[in-house]
């Protein structure tokens, strides 16, 4: 393993955002391949962060700050990766459903997805079903993620899936949902493609959904 990848690996684990920024630029300037920086530096580091979380050595704040470092590095690499033809992990649009201003859960999922190498477009809170649908048309994401904390707003998730369907885009995108009152049963009932009980599981779910669709 080259020293520069090892240093990026360490900086991501330590959540050193500025360090990752500099190290990734230096590596590119030094002629390193963007795909190698991604796989041997950033992704390997996030795998290790995930392992530490599983073991109970790392907790949510440490994971998120590593995810932030990962996202910083990935943003620098992205144009180079596109040029080199390295496929992106996936694109997700995400939002808290209409009528709901609670966004801690949605933000957690966003940050974890970014840590997992996803490109995430955050539509924010109080997002109307039609807005989810038009964003699908505009951004062509692989996945739409919807969040709700309130049982009164949960029903809007079904409306959003219908709005996406109305534009004829339902078969081009996977819909995953989450939030405290949401269950696997509810996801099945409204025709979503998946449900995850927490942000870590959401990343696993997003990855497995994309693997199964190829």
């Amino acid at each position: 393993m080259k020293d520069e990848y090892e240093m990026i690996f360490k900086a991501v684990i330590e959540g050193d955002v500025e360090g990752v920024d500099k190290l990734v630029r230096d590596a590119l300037n030094g002629g390193a391949k963007s795909g190698d920086i991604l796989n041997q530096g950033l992704i390997r580091a996030m795998d290790e962060v995930g392992n530490r979380f599983e073991r109970g050595d790392f907790f949510v704040p440490e994971m998120l700050i590593s995810a932030k470092a990962m996202k910083t590095g990935l943003a620098i690499l992205r144009p180079y990766l596109v040029e080199a033809g390295v496929a992106s992990v996936g694109r997700v649009i995400i939002g808290t459903i209409k009528g709901d201003l609670h966004d801690i859960g949605k933000n957690l999922v966003t940050m974890m997805l970014e840590g997992g190498g996803f490109e995430v477009i955050d539509l924010g809170t109080d997002v109307a079903p039609e807005k989810f649908a038009s964003a699908v048309r505009e951004y062509s994401p692989d996945i739409v993620g919807m969040s709700a904390l309130l049982t009164t707003t949960m029903v809007q998730m079904k409306n959003a899936i219908e709005a996406i369907d109305d534009l004829g885009l339902r078969d081009q995108v996977k819909v995953i949902i989450g939030g405290a009152p949401v269950t696997q049963g509810y996801a099945e009932k409204i025709g979503a493609d998946g449900y995850a009980p927490d942000a870590i599981k959401a990343v696993n779910l997003a990855k497995s959904i994309l693997r199964s669709t190829g």
Binding site: F59, L64, I65, D103, I104, N107, Q184, P197
Partner: protein, 486 residues
């Protein structure tokens, strides 16, 4: 430095008696000691009390106030118990809380079969190892009475099992003064010398008067042995309110307090300065239907909190209760009563808090209960840290930089402090899906698994070969003596 003047650390506290009430309870206790008197069944101790100025009235000993004042001026207010290596482990004073197991339950719930059966020496070894490993338990009592060793000297076997399996301080019981002498010799072997043991004691004897108001022959003889050496002793009442004391709170407290003060006098007359954990004690409530001595009764809880305050009123180290229940198995009731006691004893400020793991009003030991209560104690210890108000904890700069609608998850301040939060080990803090995914285990299942794992994997620091042989020799002598008697 905007809020420098607010720098403050405040600990949660519970108070149940007013100053006036404590004064009245003290006066009433003196009245009992002077007018009713106490029964002292040992001739030696009776003579000691008479020589000191007590009035002997047939079998009654009547104690003047000045002797109580004298004994309160003699007993140490600062009592330290050490670990087996002689390092200070518990400062029994103020509101310092230390938790440990109980002693002498005839039964246990079998760790493998879940069946109720007589305790055996292996249980005492197991509980000792478990206590050694559990982070929130500070000291050890033997839990069971072993049924598979000679009954007359089972206390010696208990001590051997305990001292061989933990480095933590040990509070022990002894059946009589000669067994007590043998146990002290075992402790002496561990400490290297009697001098070392006295200077840095890792043991304390537990003994008690007999309610109401009796200091028994056996009890006095044990006090003679332990106090003459100046080794620490717990000598606190164990009464059953409504039966061996008045049923009312105040009357029960007065009987218990009179036993405490007269017991303290006996210890200080034997050897002024003997460290005695004399405050607190058991005031179990008689259930007037089932006739059990209830540990889960609210009356016992309030009685004990009151007695703790009387102990603090005199500046005495206080003996307490936690993690104890009337339930017969580790069930919801066991968890509720056990946890209430943990919180109460900490809020009230008991010092040497025992009986963690008791079920069935102290007749049965439960491994699950010990583990679940260790977890509860961890939670309560965190709660008892109280609120620290400082510039750093006020976090004004962080609040300003996040602003409305942002989040604190990746702030430096969060990263610096979130690990101060308590984390459960066997309690469930996961969401339903993850809990189901992990096998949907109940607390009892998880506590039992943890107990089994510790007992099968934890290795306490062993005693040296020399010490092990020394202890074995003392046991052999006791066995030989026993055979001689038979």
């Amino acid at each position: 430095m905007l809020f420098k003047q607010l720098l403050e650390y405040s600990q949660p506290k519970l108070r149940v008696l007013s100053e006036d009430q404590k004064n009245a309870l003290h006066s009433a206790s003196l009245d009992v000691l002077q007018r009713t008197g106490i029964s002292v069944q040992s001739e030696v101790t009776r003579k000691r009390l008479a020589d000191a100025g007590c009035q002997i009235d047939a079998d009654r000993i009547k104690i003047p106030e000045r002797l109580i004042e004298w004994s309160l001026s003699q007993c140490p207010k600062h009592v330290v118990l050490c670990d087996r290596d002689g390092n200070p482990a518990m400062a029994l004073e103020g509101r310092n809380c230390y938790f440990g197991t109980g002693s002498d339950t005839p039964f246990v719930i079998d760790i493998d079969s879940g069946l109720h059966r007589s305790a055996v020496i292996e249980d005492i070894e197991n509980v000792s190892r478990l206590t050694d490993a559990l982070h929130n338990l500070d000291f050890l009592m033997c839990m069971g009475i072993a049924s598979d060793v000679p009954a007359q000297i089972s206390d010696l076997y208990h001590f051997q099992a305990m001292v061989s399996n933990t480095n933590k301080p040990i509070v022990f019981t002894a059946w009589n003064s000669s067994n007590l002498e043998a146990i002290v010799r075992m402790a002496e072997a561990v400490a290297g010398s009697l001098e070392n043991l006295i200077r840095n004691p890792f043991i304390a004897l537990y003994s008690e008067p007999i309610a109401p108001l009796i200091h028994s022959q056996l009890g006095c003889e044990k006090l003679e042995v332990i106090c003459r050496l100046g080794l620490p002793v717990v000598y606190t009442p164990g009464l059953i309110t409504g039966a061996s004391s008045p049923v009312s709170y105040a009357g029960a407290i007065v009987v218990a307090n009179a036993e405490i003060l007269s017991g303290l006098l006996i210890t200080q007359l034997i050897h002024p300065g003997t460290p005695v954990i004399a405050g607190g004690g058991g005031m179990m409530t008689m259930d007037m239907h089932s006739m059990i001595a209830s540990y889960g009764a609210p009356e016992f809880m309030l009685d004990w909190c009151s007695l703790r305050e009387m102990g603090a009123y005199y500046g005495l180290p206080v003996f307490g209760f936690a993690g104890v229940s009337d339930a017969h198995i580790f069930d919801q009731q066991a968890g509720i009563e056990g946890a209430l006691w943990v919180l109460l004893s900490a809020l009230a400020g008991g010092n040497l808090i025992h009986d963690v793991g008791y079920l069935e009003s102290g007749l049965t030991t439960s491994y699950e209960m010990i583990v679940a209560m260790d977890e509860t104690i961890g939670l309560v210890k965190r709660f008892m840290e109280g609120v620290l108000v400082s510039d750093d904890t006020l976090a004004l700069n962080t609040i300003a930089s996040v602003g409305p609608g942002g989040h604190f998850l990746t702030e430096r301040h969060t990263l610096d402090h979130f690990r101060e939060n308590w984390r459960p080990d066997v309690f469930c803090h996961s969401n339903r899906a993850n809990w189901e995914g992990a096998g949907a285990s109940s607390l009892g299942d998880k506590a039992l698994q943890k107990a089994r794992k510790i007992i099968s994997t934890h290795t306490p620091v062993p005693l040296t070969e020399h010490v092990i042989a020394g202890i074995e020799t003392i046991l052999k002598e006791a066995r030989a003596q026993l055979d001689g008697i038979d």
